[in-house]
Symmetry: C2
Subunit: 349 residues, 2 copies
């Protein structure tokens, strides 16, 4: 029986995972290089050390029954050390796939899942050739370490190739065709070790400056597309023999669903589940990795989640009768995710 879970990363996702674990009577130890992490306020123990500190990683791994993570760019060497001592869930294969955009797209294509046309780009001549193939508008993205619109640049004209290539500072990249979509949705899916899969209803996402702004549930899509999204998510989880919660970002296009990206962890676009589902994505993740039965994913209410960045979290007057989720971050830097709110209303069809 899992009594203590270690989480690599102490940000807001680790914080909300910690509280979910506590509800199930499971203690959490946080591993985080930065001092005073958001998750530290609600965790039984915090290890403050770098991902290069093998001794600290070993002590951390020995102190828990199971390790999980709140972000996907954990150095492989750190995971090697931890995994030699304690099981890590979700398993490494999911990280390998999701850490590299090219690996991820190829994996998805192998599952017969549609992704945007893409070309690998390591040099400027490759980018020029890729633009000729893919056309514009297109997006040049680093293969690794991108998040919240960082590590990517939009190209509207082939003449911008040199400037765009320079912007990524020589990092291995991928050029993706920019997709014309009706809407962006995401589906948060969970799978446990016995192969049980459970999905939350797809939410509709609106981004602002490359960062998720709102998620609205239900998404304004047909029942057929909802089912497609569920089946597609299940296919991904099953192909990876995945254990845990995954966020799958999708474009709704005139030709059906296309996967934008996957995240092998709880996801910002699943925060609405905290207040519109009996068992939310955080608890679902803990249940999945700790071997508990999953919640059924049903929502009891419609919901809208709004991210509050920077100073927005200091102006809560407008969010009367909303659920407020503050991340406990000391400094409200511009653009930094500080909190989110959930508004709920009676469930529609």
């Amino acid at each position: 029986m899992i009594k203590t879970i270690g989480i690599l990363g102490g940000g807001q996702l680790g914080r909300m995972l910690s509280m979910a674990a506590a509800r199930l009577g499971i203690r959490v130890h946080i591993y985080e290089p930065l001092p005073d992490p958001p998750a530290g306020d609600v965790a039984a123990r915090v290890f403050t050390a770098s991902y290069e500190d093998a001794d600290a990683l070993r002590a951390f791994a020995h102190s828990v029954d199971l390790v999980t993570f709140e972000f996907e760019n954990i150095p492989a060497e750190a995971l090697d050390i931890v995994e030699a001592i304690t099981p890590v869930l979700p398993r490494r294969n999911a990280l390998t796939v999701s850490q590299d955009r090219i690996t991820e797209k190829r994996f998805l294509q192998e599952q017969a899942i549609t992704v945007a046309p893409f070309v690998e780009v390591d040099t400027l001549p490759q980018l020029v050739a890729a633009l000729a193939t893919i056309g514009t508008p297109a997006i040049l993205k680093t293969r690794r370490f991108g998040y919240d619109g960082k590590g990517q640049v939009k190209i509207t004209d082939a003449a911008q190739a040199e400037e765009a290539f320079a912007a990524l500072a020589g990092a291995p990249a991928v050029l993706e065709q920019m997709i014309t979509f009706e809407r962006e949705i995401s589906i948060i899916a969970a799978r446990n070790a016995s192969g049980e899969v459970s999905c939350f209803d797809p939410g509709e996402n609106v981004h602002k400056d490359g960062v998720l702004h709102t998620t609205t549930v239900p998404a304004a899509i047909s029942h057929a597309l909802q089912t497609d999204a569920v089946l597609l998510a299940a296919r991904i989880l099953n192909a990876l023999d995945y254990v845990g919660v995954m966020g799958v970002e999708l474009f709704v296009t005139s030709n059906g669903l296309m996967v934008n990206e996957i995240a092998p962890r709880v996801h910002n676009s699943g925060h609405w589940t905290q207040d519109a589902c009996l068992i939310d994505q955080f608890e679902q993740h803990i249940r999945a990795i700790a071997g508990w039965p999953l919640g059924d994913g049903q929502r009891h209410s419609d919901a809208e989640m709004v991210n509050l960045l920077g100073d927005e979290a200091n102006h809560l007057e407008q969010w009367q009768n909303c659920a407020i989720h503050m991340y406990g971050k000391a400094e409200a830097k511009p653009g930094r995710k500080m909190a989110h709110i959930n508004k709920i209303s009676p469930k529609s069809a």
Copy 2:
């Protein structure tokens, strides 16, 4: 602005208050004599010291912006020390009233609120006389320190007086008439410093061996009685100029509502709010004492809360698709509150 709240007591109520505070970005420090308290797993800091340790109490009080409590029998001397340094909410007058059954009943009568007929009992002859006045069945209760059916004995025949008196070992007591009631309900009410009052819907309670077993919402009472309960709770809160959440236990009798007892804190019969209201009793309490606007108390779902005592918390198989709230207690002693579950269903009228 309140950034850190201290909680006197580290049990399950402190644990759930801590998580509610974290959602609002407020850190919690716990003060608890027993090592390894349930609230410690989700608190930023734990002070492990007795209520006689003046230095520890002072350090605790200095470390926070505001102090609250999760149980009402805090030694007055400890509160004196804390209060000299940091504000305590709810205020002392609510504790004075609720710590002593006689004081409480007299206070309620002053508010024109009906309570069961009662007589003060300090000696055996007083008990014999009281039984002649009140009749049987009656309940002899200690004036102070009673909870969960402890410190009370039922008297069905005047001949049991001596035995009953001996059972309370000479503690100052009160003899109460045993009320014939249709049902037991409770109402969880909140009031903030600006006098705003907010009530959750009354829940219907079933006890087992003197301990709360289930709370079901809505209670099967008329709309008129629901309104009576709300008005009665508001009268109590306003009379005390109360700040925080209070639990009011009521009997529904053929003559209307009668108050059984009040608790100046979050209450076991309000645990259903965690999963059936957007803002639950724990967050409502933190909002009230920290000067935030209150939630409106509306429920989005019907609910049933079931307490799990002792070994029951090791058998969760039957609670599929229920919200489980474990208290993180190491030892499942018989009768000990270990967890509760909440079942929800679509909201009825």
